[in-house]
Symmetry: C2
Subunit: 448 residues, 2 copies
């Protein structure tokens, strides 16, 4: 998927990972175009004057900004920053282009790279210094339109996680402490990695409110595009390697001939090619691995490691019986399929794999959710690496206090989101942390 690079915190995205990114990109791009959001491209560079204009906003990024100070042998007159995000780059042009209500709504998006020179230990996919992502910036005449679009975009992000990556997420609202600085409110899809017991902020869609006179703005970004792939890897991977959901696998079906002494190898090879052709014709991404210098066993391990959802083997017995053997990557179940039903059966199996990866992940995630009511229960659940659902007073100071009290080597607990889908909150329920009256159920945990 990735290759380490000689500059720390930078990684090479190899084709296997890139194709996953492209599949998500194709889906999201088509959907936002339907919503009349148009793509554009703003520069990589931002002058220090512009960058520092929005003080609140830039404070968080300042320590991580990479500065260009030289070109060739010459010092630049003024250092120039590489974008850590593009709000400060784009907003001045929004003001310029929007003269009045008839220029609204303005809906722009860009696919680009951003740079955040983090010093905490970089991790491929999860924390890298150069990030491929998408950032949308739109402006409306009314708050109602802005609110609607915030949720429409959030739904697209949910679909990317749940329908494509088979990773269950919880939709909700960020706390005041965790929201986009300077914005009105932030919505999020939150994933959870059971193995490590950590939450992941999947993607966020923000309502910025009226930053400029008479114009409601929203922003949305798939919080570090490559991170999305990292979450999928962590949620579905196993000892043998990756497990790719069929919808994002660039090879959904790998067809492998199984040679046998004295067998009709040409016949078997032809059957493999014909199988690939039939599958391709209905839009299934299938390939045959006909290389002669690798054994079937080597090929099995190779494609298992790469996470291909379904393997089809064709050996002399299959060939003689006019059937193929199909082996699922996710649960190792093997079945023999008559050639006549092959395409239909493979289609069903792929749908089934997609669904069962999601169901399995949801089951595991749900098993990690722990409802707590008291600080003691909270601390215990945190120790057990749970995703904690707790009644909360929604007070920013209390959240800061929770962070301070749980600070440790593996990071502090923080609020993940208040789910839109709220359980009942009986009158008189108290906040797990402050003992004050609770206002909302909120998820808490350690997070990437």
């Amino acid at each position: 998927m990735i290759e380490y690079y000689d500059i720390s915190g930078c990684y090479i995205v190899r084709p296997w990972a890139m194709s996953i990114w492209e599949i998500m990109q194709t889906f999201f791009d088509a959907e936002i175009k339907q919503m009349k959001i148009k793509n554009c491209y703003f520069p990589l560079f931002v002058s220090s004057g512009v960058l520092q204009k929005e003080k609140d906003h830039i404070e968080g990024f300042a320590p991580e900004v990479a500065w260009v100070t030289k070109s060739g042998e010459s010092e630049l007159e003024m250092p120039i920053a590489i974008r850590p995000t593009s709000e400060t780059i784009m907003h001045p042009y929004f003001s310029k282009w929007i003269r009045g209500h008839r220029d609204l709504p303005l809906r722009l998006n860009q696919w680009c790279n951003i740079v955040r020179w983090e010093f905490s230990n970089p991790t491929p996919f999860i924390r890298s210094r150069e990030i491929l992502w998408q950032e949308g910036h739109t402006a409306f005449a009314t708050k109602e339109e802005a609110d609607t679009e915030v949720l429409e975009i959030l739904e697209l992000y949910r679909r990317i996680y749940e329908e494509f990556l088979a990773v269950p997420v919880i939709k909700g609202k960020k706390s005041e402490h965790e929201k986009f600085a300077g914005g009105l409110y932030t919505t999020t899809v939150e994933a959870f990695v059971p193995n490590t017991g950590r939450g992941v902020q999947g993607a966020t869609s923000h309502c910025l409110g009226q930053n400029f006179a008479k114009m409601f703005e929203i922003n949305f970004e798939n919080e570090k595009g490559e991170k999305t792939i990292g979450v999928m890897v962590m949620v579905h991977g196993d000892d043998k390697g990756l497990v790719l959901p069929p919808k994002v696998a660039s090879v959904q079906v790998i067809v492998i001939p199984v040679p046998y002494k004295g067998a009709d190898m040409q016949g078997i090879f032809d059957a493999c090619a014909a199988t690939v052709k039939s599958l391709n014709e209905v839009g299934i991404r299938a390939e045959a691995d006909l290389r002669e210098n690798y054994s079937p066993g080597w090929k099995y391990s190779h494609w298992e490691m790469k996470g291909v959802p379904l393997r089809i083997e064709i050996g002399p017995k299959d060939f003689a019986n006019n059937q193929v053997r199909a082996v699922r990557r996710d649960n190792a179940v093997k079945i023999d399929i008559p050639m006549a039903d092959m395409v239909e059966k493979v289609k069903d199996m792929l749908d089934n794999i997609q669904q069962s990866l999601f169901d399995g992940a949801k089951q595991k995630r749900d098993a990690c959710i722990q409802v707590v009511h008291t600080w003691e229960e909270f601390v215990e659940a945190l120790g057990q690496k749970k995703m904690i659902l707790a009644p909360w007073c929604d007070d920013e100071e209390v959240e800061k206090d929770v962070k301070a009290r749980t600070k440790g080597d593996i990071g502090a607990a923080k609020s993940l989101c208040s789910p839109f889908n709220q359980p009942e909150l009986p009158e008189g329920t108290l906040c797990f942390a402050s003992g004050k009256p609770a206002k909302t159920w909120t998820y808490w945990g350690r997070s990437y």
Copy 2:
């Protein structure tokens, strides 16, 4: 199309230009995937050690390299360069990944931004400091395979220019002096801008030869992606603004209602919407401009300036006669079309506009081609801003000499390419510049 930005040499690519880039990208990307070239993404950054490894290669870029020396407030231990191109970044990994012939061919491509901090005056689309482009890097076991792929890619570039942008190009080979430094040979598609009398190197496909033991490499890049759009603008634009070839226009047909006192405006608006719907259904990118606060005349100018290939007007008379009026952007021809034939006729007109833009551009370009045999004829033709075809001895020293002798305020003449399609070269023909025996016909001119 673009907006100036507060950092000199950087531009904002607005949606109208971005969509042209995306259309070309979609075409090229699908075609190279058919050729089994896979997309990947290498880092934006390169360490100075790696950058300087290929001395010959980097010499040309060194003065234009942007250097990151600081992150936040800290000086980096070693300055890090922003890629001016990715050969030095990618080649070490090719060596690592290719262990033997069974790992070949390796075919990678990336869509990315590169930075060249040029100091000559920046020009939108033609010379900018950050460039969006595509760069392909592939490796083969044999030179024959490499040669074949060089030409297959060059043909794709020709199609982008001729079939999409309606800009005629000449396919050929670069001289030793102009080829990719360190490579075996460079092929190119060369465009020409009649108004300014300058050639444009459209895109290049290089055979690098055996850089590493037993492996033949090729590179290809659409020489500064955005430049491609700039050439199209210069070739087709007129006094009223852009003229977009239908194939790259994000809006191919703009439908405009023409209100008239007492007319059935609702009926006309509905007819506009119905027209757009019928066109969209057959895949034509049509939109209606139903804004009430702009006059039809304002809308005509607006969409003419934006270069939309075909305008459809629907006024009371058209509505009563169940017809529309279609007006071509390229030649202002107006025709009335009965609603019953509308979709078919519009399709034909768009094809016709595409073809006639190409034919017109080719005619103008051809009229600029001047065959010369002597230095005097050469100098005269250069003064007349011609694209010059001359018999040449193919000697690198002679080319340097031609450059030196034609150096002026507006740049020196250089060889553009030796066309694959060579005119007859009779025995005894002499080089226009050296008087030595000519070996090839070559195009010369000033170039962007």
